[in-house]
């Protein structure tokens, strides 16, 4: 019997002009599982990813609550409460779509990696440096020592994504939110990164919220899937029983995914 | 644009100042150049609303008529700089190639010098600078930034589809510039022009303050402050009021420019 680690209730996001981006979102994530969040571009997937921990910019209105590890967090209040926010982020990690945009261009990799150890886990700098080196090797970066002191713009797309994964692992998360982690990468690298995430997940046992628009990946990666369309959840299912879904929209998505697979 | 509070506040300030300066004869009956030594250095009273200067001339009158000069210089100078700048910038941006290189180098060379130094040098060259020469000098040393602005706008607009479409329809290049490109590039140039006018007013009053601009007995806000410097400690009204006039004019123009910029970004 799996326990629920994250339960989101009635999440709503509006623009300043009162237009809905997300409405009435309810979501449950269970410990150790991989849940996919699928939908086409513009359905609000990335917004939901950020909304779950209150990471949205102040220009958007946020409503709803989450229950994390049996504690209730009101999302609107979370944005202003830095203490709770930091605690939450200490246990929930993120990886994003374009790794190079999300890494600070003026700090080297060592700085960006060690700060997680230093500020979240109170390690000293030498300890943090060792741990960082080990992590880089774990995620498959060759010449870890050299890459440690390089800057984000010197890394390839795949390397940058591995660094982001390393930073996410450094937090020892109970949940990893992966927002389209491979959409910007070459197909060959895509599979490497995905299998890396899968390995790490099996090894460390954290849950993953995997956000994607690519249904073929959903089947490979996750046990459950939730479909998002125009800001609302339209369907929820096990990945094993995808074909049984009667929703015509989902069916057309599945057909498109399969057609592409045959083509490839 | 006309709903933007910043723009509106600037606009009203400038409107008010321009209005009182233009209608000066209706507001004050004093002649700004009428010397009356019996009335010298009087503090503000009901007879002389802002007091008098060392030669007994009414300060309010001198401020209003001097305002005409300062505003005119600012306006004409900016007009000249925008005309030259838009012309050169458009040619550079549109024709590209060698012409662009030459004009851009020319701009770079002009920008090597501190502008105030350049202006002062030209004033020195002119021996007895008249009002029109000062307008020209300021205009001829500030055309570089509208030129760069419009060149940048044109370079980016050139790639846009509607321009390519217009050109392929066979419209003459000049027509494309006038009817398609300039209306789109106008915004930033307008912002730049209002801010330049603020700078032009400051430059004119600085020059007059140094004795190198508008010469007495013709009043200008700057040269009234020069006279104020001579009687520092007596006659505080001579330092305060012309300065306030300059300050509010420049502030108003800055607000207008900022208001336009904000409404462009929406």
């Amino acid at each position: 019997m799996k326990e629920e680690i994250l339960s989101a209730k009635n999440i709503e996001v509006l623009t300043a002009a009162k237009k809905f981006i997300l409405k009435g979102i309810d979501l449950q994530i269970f410990s150790g599982e991989v849940l996919s969040l699928a939908g086409e571009s513009g359905s609000g997937k990335s917004t939901l990813a950020l909304a779950l921990t209150g990471l949205l910019p102040a220009s958007l209105k946020l409503g709803g609550e989450i229950i994390w590890q049996k504690r209730r967090f009101d999302l609107a209040a979370l944005r202003k409460d830095t203490l709770s926010s930091r605690m939450l982020h200490g246990q929930i990690s993120y990886i994003f779509q374009e790794p190079s945009s999300f890494l600070n261009p003026t700090l080297n990799i060592a700085a960006q990696l060690t700060e997680v150890f230093i500020y979240n886990q109170k390690k000293t700098y030498p300890q943090a440096l060792d741990l960082s080196r080990g992590l880089l090797e774990l995620v498959g970066i060759k010449e870890a020592e050299k890459k440690l002191y390089s800057f984000p713009h010197q890394l390839s797309g795949g390397e940058a994504q591995r660094v982001m994964i390393a930073m996410a692992l450094a937090q020892r998360p109970k949940l990893l939110i992966a927002d389209e982690p491979t959409s910007n990468l070459d197909v060959t690298i895509e599979m490497e990164i995905l299998s890396l995430i899968k390995n790490m997940q099996q090894r460390f046992g954290f849950a993953v919220l995997f956000i994607t628009h690519d249904l073929s990946l959903v089947r490979y990666f996750s046990q459950r899937v939730v479909f998002l369309k125009a800001g609302r959840i339209v369907e929820e299912s096990d990945t094993a029983h995808l074909k049984d879904i009667s929703n015509p929209y989902i069916q057309s998505l599945l057909e498109a995914a399969e057609a592409l697979q045959d083509y490839e | 644009m006309f709903r933007n509070p910043i723009f509106l506040s600037g606009f009203f300030i400038i409107f008010f100042i321009a209005f009182v300066c233009v209608f000066a004869p209706f507001i004050t009956s004093y002649n700004p150049n009428a010397i009356d030594l019996k009335e010298a250095l009087l503090s503000p009273s009901s007879r002389h609303l802002l007091g008098t200067d060392t030669l007994g001339r009414d300060l309010l009158a001198r401020l209003l008529y001097g305002g005409r000069v300062s505003l005119a210089v600012g306006f004409v100078a900016v007009g000249i700089s925008v005309l030259i700048g838009v012309a050169l910038g458009s040619i550079a941006g549109f024709y590209g190639g060698v012409i662009d290189e030459v004009i851009s180098r020319f701009i770079d060379i002009m920008l090597c010098f501190p502008s105030f130094f350049l202006i002062l040098s030209l004033v020195a060259l002119a021996r007895h600078p008249s009002l029109y020469i000062i307008m020209a000098i300021i205009g001829f040393t500030s055309w570089m930034s509208p030129a760069r602005l419009i060149r940048a706008e044109i370079l980016s607009l050139r790639q846009r589809n509607f321009v390519i479409a217009a050109l392929s329809c066979g419209l003459s290049q000049r027509r494309v510039i006038m009817r398609h490109i300039i209306p789109n590039a106008w915004g930033p140039v307008m912002v730049n022009a209002t801010l330049s006018m603020a700078v032009a007013v400051l430059i004119e009053s600085s020059l007059s303050f140094l004795g190198l601009g508008v010469q007495p007995p013709q009043a200008s806000w700057g040269n009234i402050l020069l006279e104020a410097k001579e009687c520092l400690g007596v006659g505080w009204w001579m330092s305060v009021f012309p300065g306030l006039a300059i300050f509010f004019t420049v502030l108003g123009l800055n607000l207008i420019g900022e208001g336009i910029r904000e409404s462009l970004h929406k």
């Binding site: 830095t82 982020h89 003026t106 700090l107 500020y119 | 130094f117 004033v123 303050f209 012309p242």
Partner: protein
Amino acid sequence: MFNPKVSLEVKAKLTKIYGLDKPLIQQYLDWLRRIVRFDFGVSLLDGRRVIDKIKERIPLTLFINLTSLFIIFLIALPLGIIGALKKGSGLDRAITVFVFVGFSFPSFWLALLLMQALAVHWQIVPVSGLVSVDFPYYSWAGKVWDLARHLVLPIFVSTFGALAGISRYVREEMHTALSSKFIILARAKGLPQRLILLRHALRNALLPVITILGLSVPGLLGGSVIFETIFSLPGMGRLFYEGVMARDYPLIMGLLVIGAVLTLLGNLLADIGYALADPRIRYEAGEK
């Protein structure tokens, strides 16, 4: 250029001395050759070499302007950071108003008002000049204090004008930096707010500010003319003013060239500073 009453003989002599009888091209080339060696000829006013006159005035002007830049940097940074953090709040609005007022305040009016209030009325600081009459008799500490008293007002005036513009720039850059994607990740890592501000955002925001500081050199030089004249300080700006008043063309030319050199130096330093600070330029992509 010549006083019309001068006799023809003297006119001929002077023409020969200044080489005005040579063909125009030759004159230009001679001039170029001398300019490159910073030989600007002699001042029409007192016959001394122009370059000497300029050299003795540069230190003071540089000192005042660099001190101003330094103080501006110290004040504009916190102002800009606060403005970006608390965007839209009462404090931010107050700072914005202050910035606009600063932009619009004519520097010579400020100087005049301050002179009137602080020097004449309340007599806290001296009215003008660089040193007091008794300066040579002061102790070492006394000399420093005297200099400081005389320079307070000029430095304040010089700083005030540029401060507004630069604070505003810092605020905009900080705001841009704080809206960047890497800040989202920094927050997602659970880092303390102060660290995010100072380490992540500020580093990126400062890059363009370095350029701006270098580019403000010509503006500061122009401003020097005004406040050095008002406060009777023996600097480059005041020298320019004297040269213009006396129509001393060699001096004016020389100062114009030196002004251009300083401007270009400022640009160069700004470029170098930026290249050193931005890792994307310091290390070519793909190379170590």
